[in-house]
Symmetry: C2
Subunit: 232 residues, 2 copies
């Protein structure tokens, strides 16, 4: 509020340190991300009941903030709350995964359409650069950087939509599926097809062809399902 009225310390810090004010991650946030990661990495397997006492002791926090974090994660759909029985790591059926991927494709399609309208040429070039670096990693068969760049491109398109609610919903669904995708079912055989998909996507974005971009993203997601469906 009215930061210009006290220009000294605030602007000095602002100029010298573009990182802004020091924001320690609150314990709440720390626990949430920690537990979420534990679920994604499979340390907490789907279907397992979460023991508040043990988990709290293991994380070095008392039950109260841990319980609050569990409620938070339950709202994301990663956990299920059975009254009197505590929190259980949610199991996703193959249909759940498929349905989620369909919606995810639709959301990215929406984002693509909006990006064609709202993105600047410079921003699109940045996505192209991400893509080029991804291709580089692909030719080197360097899987982990490839995977991260892949995710980064999708996130970038969402960002270009400049639609916060859209990004939010996408993030929720993405979070649910990260567990599935983390395992990395994607066999190297079909790797090439995914790269080809991405080439289409970037081309459509550069041409600002909204319809083509949307259908390319949806198709990409459909093929992603084909890649992981066998792993259930």
């Amino acid at each position: 509020m009215d930061r210009d009225s006290t220009p000294r310390a605030a602007d000095l810090a602002g100029d010298l340190d573009p990182r802004g004010p020091i924001a320690r991650p609150s314990l709440h946030e720390a626990i949430v991300t920690r537990v979420r990661d534990m679920i994604i990495e499979g340390i907490l397997a789907p279907g397992t009941r979460i023991h508040e006492g043990n988990l709290g002791k293991e994380l070095g926090v008392s039950r109260t903030p841990l319980r609050e974090a569990l409620k938070f994660l339950a709202s994301e759909g990663i956990l299920e709350l059975s009254p009197g029985r505590g929190a259980v790591v949610r199991q996703f059926t193959p249909k759940d995964v498929h349905d989620s991927l369909i919606v995810l494709g639709g959301l990215e399609g929406m984002a693509g359409r909006l990006a064609c309208q709202h993105a600047t040429d410079a921003e699109i070039r940045e996505v192209r650069q991400l893509h080029d670096r991804m291709i580089e990693m692909y030719t080197k068969r360097d899987r982990l950087p490839y995977f991260k760049l892949n995710q980064g491109i999708h996130a970038a398109i969402l960002h270009l939509s400049k639609n916060e609610p859209l990004m939010y919903l996408h993030g929720i669904l993405q979070g649910r599926l990260r567990r599935i995708r983390y395992i990395g079912h994607e066999g190297p055989e079909k790797w090439a097809a995914a790269v080809a998909d991405h080439e289409d996507i970037i081309a459509a974005l550069e041409a600002r062809d909204a319809d083509r971009l949307a259908s390319a993203l949806a198709a990409h997601m459909e093929r992603s399902w084909d890649r992981i469906r066998d792993g259930l």
Copy 2:
């Protein structure tokens, strides 16, 4: 699990009481819906800090379950958490509302496409019946039942998609906007246009014309924005 192996008590209860097992609404759930309603009805205005002590005393619960409910609502995006400063009722800018409506239209469009594939004829007839009753309320100028039936039709279309994640995301966004729509900006002048939109929507659904249904739903949402934009 294997209910048929012990047919006596279980099936007896199941046959006699179709309501299933007794499910008391947990206090957690009760508080969540209560506070959410308070926000929707404007009792807790956007921007206000939530005072845990007072609100807890008012609801007759201690701070612990209340705090858990607040975290839950924060995950839905209805509240914001400022570390050290507690929870604040989120304010939505006009852009937030517009962006949300765009996404909402897109989600309903997706649902419409899926409904055209998956819905049975009987289910579509049920939606038509909802529509007819809505028209009836419209001709009587009976606003509240009209509003509820209107919401019901949209919910029904989502349901016909038979895609749980889609319904879930729609519910979140819908929940955020209910506060805005609850006020009831919709002037009676433009009422007729909304009814005409719905007529289109039902017709497209009955024809199972996915493209037409999707665009009708998106357009309907776009016009909904025109109706409420003046009220900020």
